[in-house]
């Protein structure tokens, strides 16, 4: 096992670790790299923040429904659906 990761490899491990648990060896490699590399250390911290938001994802997303349909499109789609329903009944 090589002990020294480059920044590309280290950033890769930092960003996937919330989805895919790292092996002991990978954890060690990452730890060593972060000890000596300030930009990767920042990157790893930022990933933690981002991952926390993403993990809260689907539940809060469904509560928030962050985007609203325009009134115009809402009206258009509603009318179309009504027509179909009336035809059916």
């Amino acid at each position: 096992m090589k002990l020294i990761l480059n920044c590309k490899e280290a950033s890769y491990l930092s960003s996937i670790r919330d989805m895919h648990s790292l092996s002991i060896g990978e954890k060690l490699q990452l730890w060593i790299h972060l000890k000596v590399c300030p930009p990767c250390r920042r990157f790893a911290n930022h990933m933690q923040v981002i991952n926390r938001f993403l993990q809260r994802g689907s539940q809060s997303f469904s509560k928030l429904a962050p985007f609203q349909l325009s009134q115009e499109s809402r009206g258009r789609i509603t009318r179309l659906l009504k027509e179909i329903e009336q035809k059916k009944s």
Binding site: N6, S15, H46, F53, F61, A65, F67, K82, I84
Partner: protein, 190 residues
Amino acid sequence: MQSEQWMEKYGDYLYSLALFKTGSKELAEDLLQNTLVSALENLENFKAESSVKTWLVRILNNKIIDHYRHESVRRKAQEELQQQVNHSDDHFFEPTKVSPYHWKEERYPGEWEVASDQELEQSEFYSVLEQCLGKVPQKWRLVFTKKYLSEQESENICKEMEISPSNYWVIMHRVKLALRSCLELNWIKL
């Protein structure tokens, strides 16, 4: 009326999902419309054991997949994907004396003032996220939102999107790389 209730309760949610996954307002509206039309037409297939919301989301997801299976869309996505895969590393890293891939100085992750994420509203996060996802290739975007918004299993996503597991992890990583710099520019420094 059935459809009015659906629009009222789930319209914005389904629209938000579609917009997040595709990045296009017009397409998201079309997908919402097609989803509800096909729900009305297949009302007799709805099984009471699942919730209406789950059922509608499933129909929407199928519509999105159909859209991307469409040949020309698919070919374009594939080309885009290839180009991005080829270029995106040079974007962030460069060789130095000690390492083949070291952060480019202008790409150094910045100092984030916000130590805890509590001050940052989840809804604010989403609106910036949506903007930032506009900068990644369509197919990556879809892979990423399937994981984080639909919470699909990674194996399923690979199967559906016809990608290998190792490609999958690389895509997730690349999206996060792009996302991080975009968030830094558009959100943290606000």
